[in-house]
Symmetry: C2
DNA sequence: AGTGCTGCTCTCTTTTTGAGACTATATGAA
DNA sequence: TTCATATAGTCTCAAAAAGAGAGCAGCACT
């Protein structure tokens, strides 16, 4: 028996058990994962894990995000409890975004994934090139 | 000095250093992360980590995915080297999808995130409820 | 001859995202 | 005064992505 495979099986079982009667559609784990799997969520989490940032700073840090998506993604991250938004009464008023404790605790696992991407983006690039060569 | 914060800083530096001259737009880490942060990618990775599945089996396992998105997500995962697609010459022909070694190695970190979601979906639900109550 | 299974693709509609103008207030420079 | 800058957004419209569902080709079973 391979305990690694058994472990993977049990994970899937949990993902499945969270749902009512084996239906995946209303799974809370899925719900949480989808909240952080947006196009910009993980990038903003990475930035805010470094230190708090203001709206305009984030915009300059991630030059190809639109203001609209920055507003919306920060709003969603705040709603899910990962990000704290604080308005300072300067003139003009400035808004600072920072991670909450929940956000920091989620950032741990997220960081693992980023680390993996860091180590393996070469392999992914190669796989894409090979695939495109045969399927082109 | 807080070594944890220093560590987070260095992670962001790496994410940033991957780009040409501090520009985030063409970052390979971002490229890899975005490839697996689609709406269905992580869910299919979870399923295929359990065991290989056929197209129709995946469709039944994840009832609210459309055929179109299942085809496309599997295609993208295959292109990035996470998933292997094998056609068996049965009548009618059947197609089996399984994780590659690269896919399995990526599934480790991904699983950490799922585990976190499992433990913390209550906190996220509460945060959402609290946010909606004040901002509704 | 009709029905069903397989793994798709094609089209149409709805949702999401992107690009960019516009708001309101205040500060400093010409 | 008038112009330019900065703040953090919102609003509108176009483009891209996703969802719904029909259609397809080949074979087996009845």
């Amino acid at each position: 028996m391979d305990s690694k495979i058994l472990n993977l099986r049990s994970k899937m079982e949990v993902y499945k058990a969270m749902t009512d009667g084996g239906n995946f559609a209303d799974c809370p784990v899925r719900d949480v994962i989808q909240g952080i799997s947006g196009k910009w969520s993980s990038l903003l989490m990475m930035a805010l894990a470094e230190r708090p940032y203001r709206f305009g700073e984030l915009r300059r840090l991630v030059p190809d995000i639109s203001q609209r998506m920055l507003t919306q993604t920060l709003h969603d991250l705040q709603r899910d409890g990962y990000v704290h938004r604080e308005v300072f009464p300067t003139k003009p008023p400035s808004v600072e975004y920072s991670l909450t404790d929940l956000g920091r605790s989620m950032f741990g696992p997220l960081q693992q994934l980023v680390q993996w991407a860091e180590l393996n983006h070469g392999a992914v690039r190669d796989a894409r090139a090979a695939f495109d060569a045969t399927q082109g």
